[in-house]
């Protein structure tokens, strides 16, 4: 199988990802790509707590993820790749041409961001980066849970 979902979600590993997506996709591993988390054992333990033991969690920096992506794509199991922000998604897509899609699953309010969807708040700069990502051939949609419609990037940026 493959990495079935590339997701941008500032909560990283949480219920919507593990249960909401993990169950219908039958995911067996989650790759969490975050430079900060990948260098902190404590943060890794925290995120691992939210995942049932049968699901493997792999922590990687952007560099490590770019190098390993082909291996995960070729894995016979189904996996989910998570990043916490748009910059990390862009950095990964730039270094790894295998990235074909990104699901915007949760980017929440912060100073300077404006509401685009109930679960997506973006600065103008972040919205432009998502459009650029899409222009580069990556399919960018917003969808919090599998039962919701995948909203194309043009409708929320």
């Amino acid at each position: 199988m493959t990495l079935a979902l590339y997701r941008i979600d500032d909560r990283l590993i949480h219920g919507q990802v593990v249960v909401g997506w993990g169950q219908p996709l039958n995911a067996s591993f989650i790759v969490l790509v975050d430079d900060e988390v990948s260098s902190s054992d404590w943060e890794q333990d925290l995120y691992r707590m939210g995942v049932p033991p049968q699901i493997e969690v792999i922590f990687a920096s952007v560099d490590q993820a770019a190098a390993q992506l082909s291996t995960w794509e070729a894995d016979e199991r189904v996996g989910i790749l998570l990043v916490g922000d748009i910059d990390t998604a862009v950095a990964l897509a730039q270094r790894a041409p295998q990235v074909r899609s990104f699901n915007v699953g949760g980017v929440h309010h912060r100073t300077g961001r404006r509401e685009r969807l109930r679960f997506v708040y973006l600065t103008d700069d972040e919205a432009a980066k998502l459009r650029q990502l899409a222009a580069g051939g990556v399919e960018v949609t917003a969808q919090d849970v599998p039962t919701a419609r995948a909203i194309p990037v043009g409708e929320f940026t």
Partner: protein, 125 residues
């Protein structure tokens, strides 16, 4: 020792409903504060927690043993003294808590786990 305050952190309106239920059963309405993760990223949830916990010792009750409520609460407790976190909140542990608040957060956490677990059982047919 000052009385512990309890903060319930949950998805959607579970926490709010639990506060209302404790009030309905005991009449106590100053021991618990509800925090929802609705519409929150990590930063915002941390802010809501900070507002709810305020100063002094506190006990944080989280709905699930994983997810944004748990990660934010645990991170908060790591950065602040005198705060304990338990997961799997249920009404039974809250009812026990509101009557036993002159103890340390660590002791309250042990009581909560005990009272909460005792409430989970199969009833006689």
């Amino acid at each position: 020792m000052s009385e512990l305050r309890g903060i319930i952190v949950s998805h959607a309106a579970v926490a709010q409903a639990m506060v209302a239920a404790v009030r309905a059963i005991t009449g106590i309405d100053n021991a618990l504060t509800a925090v929802s993760n609705e519409g929150c990223g990590t930063d915002q949830l941390a802010e809501r927690l900070r507002d709810a916990v305020g100063e002094g010792p506190a006990m944080i009750f989280v709905d699930l043993p994983g997810g944004s409520c748990m990660t934010s609460s645990t991170r908060y407790a790591k950065q602040h003294a005198e705060i304990a976190v338990v997961t799997g909140v249920n009404l039974a542990m809250l009812l026990d808590f509101v009557f036993h608040r002159n103890i340390s957060p660590e002791e309250a956490a042990r009581r909560a786990v005990d009272a909460g677990a005792k409430a989970i059982r199969v009833t006689a047919a």
